[in-house]
Symmetry: C2
């Protein structure tokens, strides 16, 4: 009997050209579809929740696929796929879901976490954190973060090649906090524009360094002018943390 | 004027065949000597404190070399070398030292830290931690650890190919503790046999799982029989943490 299987996926994005399948480059979707094809003896299409950029990691990416294999219980697709997958991608969990579940269209929101270390990075930290040369004013960053809450025109944060019709996104939370030596930026929204998290963080840190007031930043965001955004930060510290349904 | 320069070095051991220079394989000493040769226009020999295994990392490796270059202040060798080095090795600090300083022979002791996570590793953790399937009895592990303190015959912990004459080592500390979700084993000794830290940790965890008493383990260590040791654990979670002079 045809079943719809949901996967919770973690990956180290370092050696992937992002999530989305491409003809030539190594991608996470491509690797998992290859494993599914080995398992099924025919191509199987995998629907993912979010297209992460090259170099971005995940600990809670969600995807789903339909299977006709009766001999594998829903929760055993996880270990079965892991034996076929390379070590930089792991299926943390698998379960059966309703036929109408779709990893992307059923998702209510996505949560990303961005990890910063406020000094030179040690070599073993370089692929999983972004280096900040100084310790920023967290209260000011959080005042900026509150400007985004609710339905917000995110045009200034849209990376080149973003093809969304509307640039409005509903932002549920946007907060900076510390954990040990790390500064973490967590943002949750119904969906994100291309490169948006990297641009939001880069813009906030740029204006914080220049001591812009929250009111100044409000006007900059409202301008809708991409040229007003700060730099798009590197992908290395960014993790797709969770997807909410 | 000829100067003796001391370096503090960090590296991600993942893509290195250990510290020690080899003819064909990529090593940390080899990369730094290559950078020194570019800088000096002739080969420069680098003396390192400890030979870490393939896959073992460092945040406090120490090395020294002699230079005739007058134009670079001692503390500027660090940034100058970093521009010539690949990103998985960084010189954290450089300074001038007495001519009789030798990174290896002047060292009083070395400290290693071994990082464990007591569940399946996420992909971005796999190169910097060892996975434990269960949470061990830390009090029992620390009772084992105390058996090593002082001058101890470490024969059972010597990896194949260890060429030391005496297998006695002076162990200053040997302790397990937790930090967040991680279990850390820290051990400091005047020097270590080949693969010794990986063998000590593997032996302790093996006998802890079998609920051996400290007295039983004392006899096992005293037997000097390598066959009594537990498994040698993987290198991924091990860091050369510090060298004391």
């Amino acid at each position: 009997m045809r079943r719809n299987i949901k996967l919770v996926i973690a990956y180290d994005g370092t050696d992937f050209c992002g999530w989305q399948r491409q003809d030539k480059d190594r991608t996470v979707q491509g690797e998992i579809e290859l494993a599914l094809e080995k398992m099924h003896g025919e191509p199987v299409s995998l629907a993912g929740c979010g297209r992460t950029d090259s170099g971005v990691h995940a600990v809670g990416q969600i995807a789903n696929f339909f299977t006709d294999i009766d001999s594998i219980p829903s929760d055993r697709f996880s270990p079965a796929l892991n034996t076929l997958l390379p070590h930089d991608v792991r299926i943390l969990h698998s379960c059966g879901v309703d036929d109408n579940f779709h990893a992307r269209f059923s998702a209510v929101s996505r949560t990303y976490r961005y990890f910063f270390i406020c000094r030179s990075l040690l070599p073993h930290q370089r692929l999983y954190n972004v280096c900040l040369r100084r310790f920023p004013d967290i209260a000011l960053l959080n005042a900026y973060g509150r400007l985004l809450l609710g339905e917000t025109d995110c045009s200034i944060f849209a990376g080149a090649g973003d093809t969304s019709n509307s640039k409005n996104r509903y932002i549920y939370s946007s907060v900076f906090f510390t954990e040990g030596e790390k500064l973490i930026f967590e943002i949750r929204a119904n969906a994100f524009l291309r490169n948006m998290v990297r641009s939001v963080a880069g813009t906030f840190l740029h204006y914080e360094e220049n001591s812009a007031s929250p009111e100044q930043l409000r006007k900059i965001i409202a301008s809708g002018e991409r040229s007003q955004a700060g730099p798009t930060l590197p992908p290395q510290g960014l993790f797709l943390w969770n997807v909410e349904y």
